[in-house]
Symmetry: D2
Subunit: 350 residues, 4 copies
């Protein structure tokens, strides 16, 4: 195996420690430093009896020669500035989701990465779970038949936040998964969103998001901060098979129902629809239990080494962000179906 | 106990046999006759070695003196005609859901029942299950606190029908439950619906229905004919407790999470929202396992004997129907939020 | 289809009504009469507006010409007397489990049925469920490989009885299933039983039953009246596949794990065992949801018409009873492993 | 907070890395060294960019002044020798389960720890989970009423081992939990065991263990290496409440059924037992999700600092071991009920 690449993590808050742990545990990486304005917080991530460096200056970090790549786990509003600086310093970059706080920023990041020839990756963590990889394969191989619908529920007692609504907080997970499993990525016909703020938090705490897809299928996402019962379930319905992913059942995360609905030729009498059902067995593929972040840092290293785009690259992050922006516009317009990227897509080459 | 009331069932198709079985098994009722245009079908419901009469003429049935009440289990388009005739003949009437195929019809039925002083009831079956009664009580008693959201999922491999979409087929269940458990009945601020017909059936096979409620809460219903996996779940989120009803878990149908989200006074620094969480135990009330239809026919008898409106009366049926009509208008208008009853509510005294 | 056979049910207590309902609903049968010492109880089973006769005399019932077969649903101690009388009167007989209260009685019943050429069947209801049929097939076809173990749990808040312990009350279900699914029937090497009576009921309320099987496999049964949580689960472990039947999961009653353990040639160094594991997918066969008793009365009719032994014949009932007798002897002897039928098997021709 | 205690881990195989990780993450501890004959294996546990020392000599480790305590995670047969040496060197000791391979060794360890005034602890990990602590409290506080039965199932595709049967491999978990939750510790009236080796592994791969308890209750343990489906469930039945712990349901690990069976005065007629049932709600206490090993190393530190016996001390380890020895004797004697410690208990002061 080649020499490990050298990484630094910027941001020691909620997600940074997970990134640091996975860089440390990976044979592909050598974690050189953790950087945070709060030195004690960074120190806690590094731990005692460690020679990983603790830094408080991003500039100093980016000036180092012994750092090949940085992982940015800071608030979304700072992603663009930090990522652009890192790219300019010749570092490869992986950023937390969402890729940025505006699609204009995201486009700048994508463009700059291309210019400087560095990898720009978004940590769409779920795309590195064995179950999502399997779902993607089953769709791509056509075993589920034509896609009919995708229904995703992600509800939990969540951290109500002052500046981000439940769509921007949780839906990036669902949208990045959709972007990953749908052939051609997430390209909805439009976006319609309904939200509610029953507790007076100042932004939506319960959200419903409908995405008509090309070809007549429909995707729907339910995100909710106010549910004390946790549900994380995605149903992918096809004409031949339907997949049910229940992420809270580690013993049987994915169930494949070998059943489907088929519409035949119209009947002469028109009194009944010529629909046939096929009821077959269900099965649960054996899936490895691997930490997704471990696979993510592995893919980051592989993309760097092979000089190719990573699985969840900047374009994927941008597509997700454009849907989020359309959500906000739909909410502001009474739930009307909004075209994605319609506002300023004209001048964009992403 | 007083003498049993005498019932007849009209319609021996899908639901009629269930009604007949429950009238037969009830101490409140004596099933006198089953009526269907198809005599053999009616005979099959009655069975051998039985003196319950089989009839093929509704007129002859309604002319009988020994029938106090009729249960109408025929296609929705025939409900109004049959129910009006039965009321005019002095019979008490219970009809299958939906009460009628138009709200104008339903209003006529409600008005006629009032005029002739007979009971008009809708068989909103789920409102007679122990679990729904318990949910209604918990909301009414205030134990869940303020209502935040209701999320209902009813998906299954369904009988795609040529003349009824998935909203009209399945959502009456969810809407009648909402009408029953919400204090004051179902009075949404509006209705927004999104549907999809990915198999080219000619009407929506997957449907999403959003109902903003007065006071900032939101209700949402997902109905789906194309899912081979059956899900019947309703989450009722309150400020103090959240109820999760999973109808496919007979061992623990209802779980009450003694947890909630509370929004306090705004914080001075505005950087975080002042939200507090309470994490308590979950509990599952012991619920009797009783067949809902048995309770329904019991309520029908009690309403007749006590000269009062039944729990799910014609007005309830009308409220549900008006929401369904608004759903159709929203679908035709690209998912726009539609006011319920807005088209012709002006001239109606229901 | 040929004319229906004519049945009567003797005993209108706990199980009789279920039998009556299934004879009535079967195209193979015409239910002629229900007989019970308590006329009102029998009347309640028959219901109003019915011409099924209510009788209080078994002698009168057995004297009738228009009854082909009787179903005996009375206490176990009366089974032998009633069944022998019915066989002598030329009736075919199905009896509730256990077939009788002593194996001597059961042998007499089996012998008499042979002499008079009538069907003697035991209502081992579970053997008529789709899931047990499927398990039997999978074992018989060799798809699970060599049988390693069977583990059955049947616990529930049960009716503690004054004269029957938990083994005699509940284990007949497990033993009859074992007898049905094991190739060659239930022929254990021995029986060891441990019981407990923590509430001072006078007999075992919690019971554990171990049955070493020929070839090194082992079966084990846990029966328990004192558990308020209901568990009905059977695991059938084979060298290639393992079956898990959870009867309280109607959505996925049977799961087949395509995994197994294989012992290879001994290793040279002896420090580790040469065991290999195969981890494959799990799958859940689609099973019809049919009432087992309906299939049972159908098999009863088919055996009569075809002049053959039914699937759960008197011999099966006898094998189960002999294990129960061995259980009692093991309990009385401190849990020692007891040979089945060892006491008086010598003089018996069953 | 006082200065951290200084720990070293001996053995870098299966369990050692978990211990090392928890000592490192604990504010109570400073991990000084990891010791293993295989230097590379120890190095892998320590990781790069670390100043934790890697050692290959236990003697050198025990000679160090800067080590207060050692954790021994080596094969059971080496526990006694290593622990005695460590105690003699003045170190506090925690050993993996089982405490030793013979009760004679375990007694020596207990005695030596007392003589040198050092803490001897056994890593009965499950006793440090929130759920087991809660179960212990509920039994101790009497909320479950009188104990009726404990039924434990621990089955999984396990590592068939050449020198240890399934009882010695898996049952220490169940026995240590029983020892922890039963008031007064595990003091069974006797032990009866039945095992099977259907694959010809040379020792039991499937095991059933019955432990009659004082007062008429019974405990039972099912351990199994051959089941590809994982079940980890313990039911604790009391006269007032029953606890069901399903360790594979993180969302609801513990359910308390507020139901029970009560035996009243004998009835005059003796025909029925005077048993009453109470059917109440079920509830699931909110339990923190904390890693048990973290709590274990915390208890180890607390016991050292407070100069007291830890929660799972050497005596607990010895009680578990004596039951395991009785299991082996029962197996060798055809499953006969064996008295615990009966062989050589006479001369022992433990």
């Amino acid at each position: 195996m080649s020499e490990p690449l050298r990484a630094a993590v910027i941001g020691a808050g909620y997600w940074g420690p997970n990134l640091a742990r996975n860089f440390r545990g990976s044979p592909d990486w050598d974690l050189v430093a953790v950087c945070d304005l709060d030195e004690a917080r960074a120190r806690k991530v590094v731990g005692d009896r460690s020679t990983v460096e603790v830094m408080t200056s991003v500039d100093a970090l980016l000036a180092r020669d012994d750092v090949d790549a940085v992982a940015i786990a800071t608030p979304a509003g700072t992603h663009a500035r930090l990522a652009l600086a890192a790219l300019d310093a010749g570092k490869h970059v992986v950023v937390e989701k969402p890729i940025a706080s505006t699609s204009a920023d995201a486009r700048r990041m994508v463009q700059r990465a291309g210019e400087v020839g560095r990898v720009l990756m978004v940590d769409h963590t779920f795309c590195y779970t064995p179950v999502v990889l399997r779902i993607r394969d089953m769709i791509a191989e056509g075993t589920i038949g034509d896609l009919n619908f995708v229904d995703s529920v992600r509800i939990n007692l969540g951290l109500v936040q002052p500046d981000v609504d439940v769509f921007w907080d949780l839906a990036p997970h669902d949208l990045s998964i959709l972007d990953f499993i749908l052939p051609g990525g997430l390209q909805p016909v439009g976006v319609a969103a309904q939200g509610a703020d029953p507790i007076g938090a100042g932004q939506s705490c319960v959200g419903y998001l409908t995405l008509p897809l090309p070809g007549g299928a429909i995707a729907h996402v339910h995100v909710n901060w106010l549910s004390p019962t946790k549900i994380r379930q995605m149903v992918v319905g096809g004409s031949k098979q339907t997949l049910v992913w229940d992420d809270l059942q580690p013993q049987q995360r994915l169930t494949v129902y070998d059943r489907g609905v088929h519409l035949g030729e119209p009947l002469a009498d028109k009194t009944t629809t010529n629909v046939s059902y096929r009821i077959g067995d269900a099965w649960a593929p054996a899936l490895p239990e691997k930490e997704a972040l471990g696979a993510m840092v592995g893919e980051f290293a592989a993309a760097i080494r092979e000089g190719r785009a990573p699985r969840t690259d900047g374009h994927a992050g941008l597509r997700v962000l454009e849907v989020l922006e359309a959500v906000s516009r739909s909410l502001a317009d009474g739930g009307r179906l909004i075209e994605v990227g319609s506002v300023d897509a004209a001048g964009v080459g992403a």
